[in-house]
């Protein structure tokens, strides 16, 4: 796709949108350096909250747990979800099966998280009468998060699959590609943006989830949202702001690195041309 010009007003609205997303982030960063504990006013610059993090073992273990949980559940949900989307899309399922798939994918999206948590925990209790495998802990949490994430991945991947259409595969087949070859060489590359956005969606869902985590976690698998959620009622401790700033900074840093790499690649590419 070539570059398209868009009208000025759209650019302005887009920039306002970005401001809406980033304004609270700037405040979080500012608060993490604010010596005044309750954040109503600026009490001078400090790094105390950051040094405090260093000795806070609870924050460290919960951060590690949160990241492991988010990465693992995103991977599982992305693989299963992508397969599910492709399987539904390319197979000539009858009308009834179509409804069944629609329903299975829509139910998790529309279920309030507290209900999903209660329902899942009840089923885990049932399973636990056969095996201790389902004791509250990392495993039950992973299952819960994957269940939440799958349909979001499917929704995003599907909305892209619909647009690709069958003619592309047929064209590839006409050029003597095998069906598998057509899928791997023609369709999957086009799906990659959708798969990545589905995975990103899943990742953030997992990072942010409180209710499902609260009900399925055990004492060994406490995560950051469980630790942070106290802020809702007890006021946010500046250490939490410091931690959020670190995570925010790291994510941005990785993004910039990736873009710089991409730009270099592009330049090389254009020089060769």
């Amino acid at each position: 796709m070539s570059r398209r010009k868009i009208p000025l007003f759209a650019t302005i609205i887009a920039i306002i949108g970005f401001i809406l997303l980033y304004l609270p982030m700037f405040l979080v960063v500012e608060q993490s350096f604010n010596a005044s504990k309750h954040g109503q006013s600026w009490g001078g610059f400090t790094l105390d909250w950051y040094t405090g993090l260093w000795s806070n073992t609870m924050v460290q273990t919960t951060t590690v747990n949160t990241l492991i949980l988010a990465v693992v559940s995103t991977l599982i949900a992305t693989v299963i979800g992508t397969l599910l989307a492709i399987g539904i899309h390319r197979t000539p399922w009858g009308k009834k099966m179509g409804y069944f798939y629609d329903m299975s994918i829509n139910v998790p999206v529309v279920t309030p998280d507290i209900l999903m948590a209660i329902a899942l925990v009840s089923v885990f209790t049932l399973f636990r009468s056969w095996t201790s495998f389902f004791d509250p802990g990392m495993l039950t949490m992973t299952i819960a998060h994957v269940t939440l994430e799958i349909s979001f991945v499917v929704l995003v991947v599907q909305s892209r699959l619909v647009g690709i259409g069958k003619d592309q595969i047929e064209a590839a087949r006409d050029l003597y590609a095998s069906t598998a070859g057509a899928w791997f060489r023609v369709i999957l590359p086009q799906l990659s943006t959708a798969i990545v956005s589905g995975a990103m969606l899943a990742f953030t869902l997992s990072l942010d989830d409180f209710i499902l985590s609260f009900f399925t976690s055990g004492p060994d698998s406490q995560t950051l949202p469980l630790y942070i959620y106290g802020s809702l009622k007890r006021g946010i401790s500046p250490q939490v702001h410091a931690l959020s700033t670190i995570i925010f900074g790291l994510t941005l840093f990785v993004m910039v690195l990736m873009v710089l790499k991409g730009i270099r690649k592009e330049r090389k590419f254009s020089r060769k041309k």
């Binding site: 809406l20 608060q31 329902a119 956005s197 942010d208």
Partner: protein
């Protein structure tokens, strides 16, 4: 798909390959198998259990009493200990209103953002797109609390509003409806932009040019040439925004001052302070059934199998 009247054993052409319908289905089942199995075990079965629970009663001290009756259903439509009242319906209406307005706002911001991102070079595009998701890595509660500070009486948004005479002296933008919508849009926007951007990226600009060549004005070109192509993305984005905002209550509690209850609060309350799981399950089941039915109708009517 008028081929469906053929029997399964008839050979047909799929994706340029000669095969039978049942063979295709067997392979499809292999692909969907893990996902569907997962969803059945960990989602559909537990949800069915909830729907059974919905007809039980609250026992003493919050235990569950397995006497089946339609008491909870009666309570849902408004027959409470204080006589009939429309409270539950008001709560539902209020939640729907907030969710709908949020979704409209998110799409209104999301469409220009998607186009703006797509108008950049390849790697810049990837960067901006990722930038959409970065704030979501910070916990929702923290971002909402940041808005609470930002919209306070001494911060610059309030000063700007005061400058334009929108706000009286000493008043603040929060708590209030405005603050709730700011918080809602700010947290739901990424979910709206994601599918929108995916569909902008694969737009067939040939159609747009064709429509220009046929002397269509910019509005008609946008409507017929662009919007119609983006429909699947827009529907996905509506679902991803509307449904979660329907259950969201933390933001309205924090930024709206918690004066009014939303459907999310009501359900949460049943599993929290009221300890009435059966009634909570009833509320939730009805909400799930209504949403799933309307979603499926929405998808079927909105187009052939869009999402």
């Amino acid at each position: 798909m008028n081929l469906s009247r053929f029997s399964p054993m008839t050979t047909e052409v799929f994706e340029g390959k000669l095969t039978t319908r049942s063979r295709m289905r067997a392979f499809g089942a292999l692909l969907t198998g893990p996902g569907i199995l997962w969803l059945i075990i960990f989602l559909l079965l537990p949800t069915l259990f909830l729907m059974v629970l919905a007809f039980a009663q609250r026992g003493a001290y919050g235990s569950i009493n397995w006497d089946f009756s339609v008491e909870n259903l009666k309570r849902l439509v408004g027959f409470s200990s204080f006589g009939w009242s429309a409270d539950n319906l008001i709560i539902l209406g209020r939640s729907l209103k907030i969710a709908t307005v949020t979704t409209i706002l998110c799409i209104a911001f999301g469409l220009p953002m998607a186009f703006w991102i797509a108008s950049h070079g390849k790697s810049m595009r990837a960067f901006l797109f990722a930038l959409i998701m970065v704030p979501s890595c910070t916990n929702l509660v923290i971002r909402t609390a940041a808005w609470m500070l930002l919209l306070g009486p001494d911060m610059f948004p309030a000063s700007i509003a005061r400058f334009f005479g929108l706000l009286g002296e000493g008043e603040s933008l929060y708590p209030g409806t405005f603050a709730v919508y700011i918080g809602m849009v700010s947290s739901m926007l990424p979910f709206a932009v994601l599918p929108l951007y995916t569909s902008v990226e694969r737009l067939d600009w040939g159609i747009v040019e064709a429509s220009r060549d046929l002397y269509a004005g910019p509005i008609r070109t946008f409507y017929h040439g662009i919007l119609s192509q983006m429909m699947p993305g827009i529907i996905a984005s509506v679902i991803l925004t509307l449904v979660p905002s329907l259950g969201m209550y933390v933001i309205s509690d924090l930024l709206g001052g918690g004066k009014y209850m939303l459907i999310g609060n009501l359900i949460q309350q049943q599993f929290g302070s009221a300890m009435d799981w059966p009634f909570g399950a009833m509320l939730g089941s009805v909400l799930i059934i209504c949403s799933v039915v309307s979603l499926i109708i929405f998808q079927r009517v909105g187009g052939k199998n869009f999402v």
